[in-house]
């Protein structure tokens, strides 16, 4: 009897796994503007009904589709864990933890694995967290870094300094970095923040061009057609040419009001040569409260025509691919007509880093 049922049991297991895979794929396949939602809605319930056993397969699909698809999967994972806890079902925490520790998995999947682990077994997650201080996923580092900061606060003098320096090595978030640097500077320890974050400090700038009625944002001025540092062009109020500008701000802000004066309804450009030691994926991260556009090696990355709504570090994360050797980063920055005191800023800050926020430092420019 056992022998005769065995193939049937196997067949059922294979079939169930196949159904789960299909359902998970339906979640991963959702596309723009709700494409695939109807199938995903049915599949979501099937995945949740499968219960805790589906978590490893679910994690394996996260990060393979869009961020929206990841939310379908994340919400399913949440529901599974909550249902299991309510019903006293065992959760595959060891498998989830193993998944988290494998850095080959996509960042969104590992973030979800950690969140599920925290929900399913807080003590286990707590034990794992310190090991994430050097994790390639920025968000996963945060808790471990905070532990280092908290531990440093309990120390004094040289021991504290050593502890804060260790934390500085691994910290990536701006607020935590600021907390560490504040303590180190109290002990007269110099910290090179532009280098820590990877801000570009040395630029060539040109302007002002026109931005009356905010039309400059869409106007293609000469720097968008060619980068010739020895060229002279017609600007808004006369000839303009490139000039060097070095940011003195430790958060890398390039203030166009300094070279050009506090102007309104104007556009300026800044260009930097970034020498990459290798061809690689990277992120250009920008903070700007004016209208802006960014190009890398002549390729338009993104732009926004929003003015004076706020600025912060890493406000925009632009995924890009660096060539080995010289890379040209061009920034367009438009100032509008507003006259309020809080609309004076005509500036941006830009850094180059990896997905974890770790600075990618430029190599020295080859001598010509």
């Amino acid at each position: 009897m056992k022998l005769s049922l065995f193939p049937l049991v196997c067949l059922c297991a294979v079939s169930a796994q196949g159904a789960l895979d299909q359902s998970l794929q339906a979640l991963a396949n959702v596309g723009r503007e709700g494409q695939g939602n109807e199938a995903a809605s049915v599949a979501w319930k099937e995945v949740v009904q499968t219960g805790p056993a589906s978590l490893p397969a679910l994690l394996a699909v996260v990060g393979k589709g869009s961020p929206v698809a990841d939310n379908w999967l994340r919400i399913a994972g949440d529901a599974i864990v909550q249902n299991a806890r309510a019903q006293g079902q065992a959760l595959p925490v060891a498998e989830v933890e193993a998944f988290l520790k494998d850095t080959a998995h996509p960042p969104p999947a590992r973030r979800l694995a950690f969140d599920l682990l925290k929900e399913a077994d807080p003590a286990r997650a707590d034990a794992v967290e310190p090991s994430l201080a050097t994790d390639p996923v920025q968000e996963l580092r945060r808790g471990a870094v905070q532990r280092l900061i908290d531990a440093a606060r309990t120390k004094e003098a040289d021991a504290a300094k050593t502890a804060y320096l260790a934390a500085l090595d691994v910290v990536r978030d701006e607020d935590q970095t600021r907390a560490i640097v504040t303590e180190l500077r109290k002990q007269s320890v110099p910290v090179d923040l532009p280098k820590h974050f990877g801000f570009l400090m040395q630029w060539q700038v040109i302007g002002p061009f026109d931005n009356s009625e905010r039309k400059g944002f869409e106007t293609v001025f000469p720097p968008e057609k060619e980068i010739r540092l020895d060229a002279t062009y017609d600007g808004k109020s006369g000839p303009v040419k490139w000039q060097p500008f070095v940011s003195g701000d430790e958060y890398g802000k390039l203030d166009f009001n300094k070279p050009f004066g506090m102007l309104k309804e104007v556009t300026a450009y800044a260009v930097a040569d970034f020498q990459s030691t290798e061809e690689r994926d990277a992120e250009i991260r920008l903070g700007c409260k004016d209208g802006w556009k960014v190009w890398l090696n002549g390729q338009f990355l993104f732009g926004r025509d929003e003015y004076h709504r706020g600025q912060q570090m890493d406000q925009y994360k632009l995924k890009c691919h660096l060539r080995k050797g010289a890379n040209t980063i061009l920034v367009k920055c438009c100032q509008n007509e507003q006259k309020e005191q809080w609309t004076v800023e005509w500036e941006f800050q830009l850094r180059v880093c990896d997905g974890a926020g770790t600075a990618i430092l430029a190599a020295a420019t080859p001598a010509k």
Binding site: R32, E33, G34, Q35, N37, E38, A40, S41, W44, K45, V48, S66, P67, V68, D70, N71, W72, R74, I75, A76, D78, A79, Q82, P108, R111, D115, E139, R142, D173, D175, K289, F302, R304, D305, E306, Y307, R309, G310, Q311, Q312, Q315, Y316
Partner: protein
């Protein structure tokens, strides 16, 4: 509709005077007046219970049947989005769902990306965050669909944060994602989450919320979209334009609707009487005195009330706009007042809950209670309270309270 009438839903306007932001109101009831039709506001309120929240937010809670729904956002960049379903009677968590923000999560420090009040058709709850993530669940927590509107329309955001609340009319969820850049309003199929229509909107920041309006008791409701240009009525099913009012409107306060009249947050308040012909609405009266500033007005009985940010309540005749009385409360206010019966309730930023008897000849403050806000974090009340039965629900960045008798 009887079911919808029974929902205890509320009002929902929020505004930060320093920012000019506001959170809109949302309603499935036939009127959108910031009034709980079956509610009561006790004069002597006390705190029934409170529950801690894991993240920030100023979206109002909504109550559907015996369940309360509330959003918040946690994480150093507000990147984790939460929707809670709580037992409205005791605050016990029934379920929680979390999303990862797929759009930009930057906002002014005073506000939060959990700023849009959810809406419900009585069977589902629809939640929107300022990062343009929009999700639909049934009341048991099963996901119907989730959208990441910034993934679809990447330049639609406001670095101060957005706050317009969605509304649901029939089978359509209407959202306004209006900002300086990629500005639009969207009609989303409530069942599938797919677009039914998309309208380009003025390129200007707008925190006001749409309101439903209908030509008569049995007419199909339409969605009235508000912007700096005025009001635009659209068919919620198709997005087709029905009528327009072009004399400008607030981008912070939302309009209210009572008995077929739209009290538009326009040039103070302008009472408009649209009809089924889709002609431009007739203006009944306009009062620049009844200026809702950044807070949304309230229609209660025969009066319309505005509250300025400093705390002066001004009552006007709903038929003429003539001023009836003024009463100074203790401000400042960001959340809008709500009403039930003949009473008005307002909660100032410092957590002082104030109850006003509007039937008194000059209005009368008849009760107040101070919420124990967290002074260490300097938290304040930005949300508009919600009323269900004889209970009031108020939230901060850290806590949800229920007040009762």
């Amino acid at each position: 509709m009887r079911l919808l009438y029974s929902l205890s839903l509320l009002a929902l306007a929020w505004a930060a005077p320093a920012l000019g932001l506001r959170l809109g109101r949302n309603s499935v009831a036939p009127d959108s007046t910031a009034v709980a039709p079956d509610g009561q506001i006790p004069a002597a309120l006390k705190i029934d219970w409170s529950v801690p929240l894991p993240g920030r937010g100023l979206a109002s809670p909504i109550i559907v049947g015996d369940k309360l729904f509330l959003t918040c956002a946690s994480g150093p960049k507000q990147e984790r989005l939460h929707l809670f379903c709580l037992d409205a009677a005791n605050g016990r968590k029934i379920w929680e769902r979390q999303l990862q923000a797929t759009g930009r999560t930057m906002s002014h420090p005073k506000t939060s990306i959990a700023s849009s009040t959810p809406c419900s058709d009585g069977r589902h709850v629809f939640a929107l965050w300022s990062c343009n993530d929009l999700a639909a669940f049934d009341l048991e927590g099963n996901l119907l669909w989730v959208r990441g509107l910034t993934t679809d329309y990447p330049n639609a955001s406001n670095s101060l944060g957005m706050a317009s609340s969605p509304i649901v009319i029939g089978e359509t969820v209407v959202v306004t994602i209006e900002n300086d850049s990629e500005s639009y309003s969207l009609g989303v199929d409530a069942k599938t989450g797919c677009n039914l229509w998309k309208l380009d909107r003025p390129k200007a920041a707008n925190w006001s919320s749409p309101v439903p309006w209908r030509a008569g008791a049995h007419a199909t409701p339409v969605a009235v979209l508000q912007s700096s240009k005025g009001l635009l009525a659209v068919d919620p099913a198709s997005g087709s334009r029905l009528w327009e009012y072009t004399e400008g409107a607030s981008t912070t306060s939302s309009s209210v609707v009572a008995s077929g009249i739209i009290y538009a947050a326009s040039n103070g308040v302008t009472a408009l009487s649209p009809d089924a012909s889709n002609a431009a609405p007739k203006q009944l009266w306009r009062s620049k005195q009844i200026n809702p500033a950044t807070i949304s007005p309230l229609v209660l009985g025969g009066s319309i009330f505005s509250c300025n940010n400093a705390g002066v309540i001004l009552a006007g005749d709903i038929k003429t706009g003539s001023i009836q009385w003024k009463l100074r409360l203790t401000g400042p206010f960001s959340g809008s007042p709500v009403g039930a019966g003949s009473r008005l309730l307002a909660v100032n930023e410092k957590g002082l809950v104030q109850v006003v008897e509007t039937s008194a000849s000059e209005g009368k403050l008849i009760g107040q209670v101070q919420l124990p806000l967290n002074t260490e974090t300097k938290e304040n009340i930005l949300c508009t309270p919600a009323i269900s039965g004889n209970h009031v629900y108020v939230r901060t960045d850290s806590t949800l309270w229920r007040l009762g008798e």
